[in-house]
C-alpha cells in the first residue's frame, strides 16, 4: 500500500478528530516506522489493516462503514494525482468503465510495484452499473466508498454496494452502482 493512502487516512482522522486521536491510534496500531509514512513509498497492507482495526475499536464503528467513509474521503485526493487526464465531459459510468483499462493500466506503468484491483464491467444501464471486483486485498467496502466519492466529484451521486456472487467457477464480488435521485 502506498504511503499516500496512509497520509490521507491521517489527514481524515486529524481533520475530523484531531492530532491527539491520530497519535492514540498510532500507539494502538504501533507501526514499525512510528507512523512516519512517505507518500511515494510502499508499505505492508497489514499496517493499514492494523490502523483500521484500531479505529473500529476507538470509534465503535463497523469496519465496513469506516472503510466506505475513508473511500469517499480518499477519491478526490487520488483523482488529483491520476496518471491520465480524462476529457471534461467524461461521465461517472464512462469513467468506471475505463477504470481498469486506462487508469489502473497507467498506474501500473508509472509504478510497476502497484497492485490496483481489477474492476471490469458486467452490465450497464441508464441508472445501474454492475462491476466485477477482483483484488487480493478484499477491500470491496473501500472500493464502494471510492465509487461514491467519485460520484460526488463528478456531480452524479450514486450508491455503491457489494455482494458475493456464486454463479461462476469461483465466488466473486459484484459491485452494484445505482444512481441516487
Amino acid at each position: 500500500m502506498k504511503g499516500s493512502i496512509f497520509s490521507c487516512l491521517q489527514e481524515m482522522v486529524e481533520e475530523r478528530h484531531g492530532i491527539r486521536v491520530w497519535n492514540a491510534l498510532l500507539q494502538v496500531a504501533n507501526p514499525p516506522n512510528g507512523g512516519a509514512w512517505v507518500s511515494c513509498e510502499s508499505y505492508p497492507d497489514e499496517q493499514l489493516y492494523a490502523l483500521v482495526d484500531a479505529m473500529t475499536t476507538m470509534f465503535n464503528l463497523d469496519k465496513a462503514v469506516l472503510l466506505k467513509e475513508f473511500g469517499q474521503y480518499l477519491f478526490p485526493r487520488l483523482h488529483g494525482g491520476m496518471p491520465v487526464r480524462l476529457p471534461a465531459d467524461t461521465s461517472l459510468f464512462d469513467f468506471l468503465e475505463l477504470l481498469d483499462n486506462l487508469i489502473h493500466f497507467e498506474t501500473r506503468k508509472v509504478d510497476p510495484g502497484a497492485r490496483p484491483p481489477r474492476i471490469t464491467l458486467v452490465s450497464r444501464s441508464q441508472d445501474v452499473m454492475v462491476l466485477r471486483y477482483e483484488s487480493e486485498r478484499s477491500l470491496a467496502e473501500l472500493a464502494c466508498g471510492l465509487i461514491e466519492g467519485a460520484g460526488k466529484l463528478f456531480a452524479e451521486p450514486v450508491s455503491a454496494s457489494h455482494e458475493l456472487a456464486d454463479d461462476d467457477e469461483y465466488p466473486w464480488v459484484r459491485l452494484i452502482v445505482t444512481r441516487r435521485r
Partner: protein
Amino acid sequence: MGETDSDAPSLRSELDDYRIAYERERDARKRAERLAEQYASDLFKANEALNIKALETRVSHAQSQLVMSIVEYVQAHSELADVLPKLMDNILKVTRWPVGFCDRIDPVAGERSEGTLTFINGVVRAEIAALLRRSRGPIARLIDRRMLDTEQSEYVVELEASGMVLAGELQMIGLNHIVALPLRVSGKVHAIFYFVCPDARNDIRNTVVFLHTIVSLLGFLVENKQKTDLLNANYSQLQLAHRSLKDTQEQLMHTERLASVGTLAAGVAHEINNPVCYVKTNLNSMRHSWRHVSDELGLANDLVRCVIAAEWENAKQIANDLERMRVEHDQSLMLEDLHAMLEDCVDGTNRVIDIVKGLKQFARPSSPVKTPVDLNQCVLNALRLTTNELKYKANVTTDLQPLPALLLDRQGIEQVLVNLLVNAAQAIDVKGEIHVATEVVDGAVECRVKDTGCGIQPDLLKKIFDPFYTSKPVGVGTGLGLSISHSIIRNNAGDIDVESFPGEGSLFRIRFAVLP
C-alpha cells in the same frame, strides 16, 4: 488574559501531542529527503546513461550515413578518384580528427601514382593546418613501405615512440597518433589513407576498427564494381558474338537454300523447257496459219474496195477467189486451232512465270518473318518446286487434311519441306513411293514425309541432324540440310524427328503446337 492553572496540564498535553506529531513528521521528512536524494542520484545516472546512449546513437547514425554514402558513391561513380575525396571529407566529419591524407597507389607498380590529397577538418587553425601539411612527408616515410610490403590492414603509430620528424610539434597540439589504412582491391593496394589523431585517451581503437570496416567495404564495392564492369563488357561481347552467329546462321541458311536451288535447277529447267517447247511449236504453227489469214484478209480488202467503187465484175471474181481460198484453208478449223494454240501459249507462259516466281521466292535472302501460314500451302509449293526431282523417282501421293493457320516463317518451312522431299527422292534407287500427309494430332499440327528409300542405319540416326553430316556422295549434299531444317523447325517452336528402317524407308515427322 493569562493562562489559568487548570489550563496548564491541558496545554502541556496538547504540546506533547504536537511534539509527537512533529517528531513523527520530521522522521517522515528526513526519510523523504533521503528518498529524494536517492531519486536525484538515480535520475542523474539515468541521464548520464541516456547521454552516452544518445552520443552512441549519433555516432552510429553518422557512421551509417558514411557507409551509405560510400555505397551511393560507388553506385554513382565509376572512378575511384571521384569517391576518395568525398570519403575523406566524411571520415573527418565523423571522427572529428583534424587532418587526413590520401595517396593513390598504382596497383601494379606499388608506387604513389599521383600527388597527395590533404584534407583539413574545418576547425583547424591556419598555422596548425600548415604544420599538418608539412607532416605528410615524414608520415609517408614512416609508414608507406610497411603498408605496401605487408598485408597489414591497419597501422597505428604512437608519435612519442616513432622518432618521426615533427612528432614533437604534433604532440604539442595534442596529436599523438597516426592511423594508416590501405584500400585493397582484389588484394592490391589502390590507395592509402592516413589520419593524425588526438590522444589515446580518446580511445581511437573503436574508430580504427570502424574505419577498417569502411575501407574494406569500399575495397569490396570497388572490386565488385570492377567485376560487374568486366561482366558487362563480356556480356556486350557475347551479345556481339551472338549477333554475328545469328547473321552467320542466316547466311548459312541462305547458302543452303541456294544449294537446294542448285539441286533443283536441272529439274526446274526441264519444267520450264516443256512449256517453252510447246509455246514455240504453237508459235511456229501460228506463223504458218498467219499466212493464210493474211492472204484471206488481202482478198477481203480488195473486195471491199471494188464494192465501194461499184466494180461489180471484179468484185464477183474476188469473192469467188476468197470463197475458194476459205474452203481450201478450212478457215473455221484454222481459227479454232489458232484460238487453242493461243490459250496453250498463255497457259505455258503462266506456268513458266509460276515456276520462276516460286524459285525466286525460295531463293530470296531474307530474315525469318512469322506470319499466319497454311502448312498445306507450303507442302504444295514445295511439291511444285521439286516436281521434276520427284517424278522420275517416285509416285508422289498426298493426304492433306484441313489445318488451322500457324504462325510460321513460311520461307523457312518450305525450305525444310523441299529438303525433306529432295532427300526422300535421293534415298530411292529405282522407282519408289513418297507420301506426304498433314493432320491435327493431339492438339498439334503434324506433317509426315514418308519414302520407300534405302532408310538410315540406326547408329547414324542420331547424327543426321548434326551439321555437316551427310550420307550422300561427295558433291551431292552440303551436309547442312537436316541440321538447318532442325534449326528452322526449333526456331518456329516445332519439333522434327525421324523413324527409319534400313531397306524399307524413312518417315520424317514435323510437329507444331496449335496456339489456343
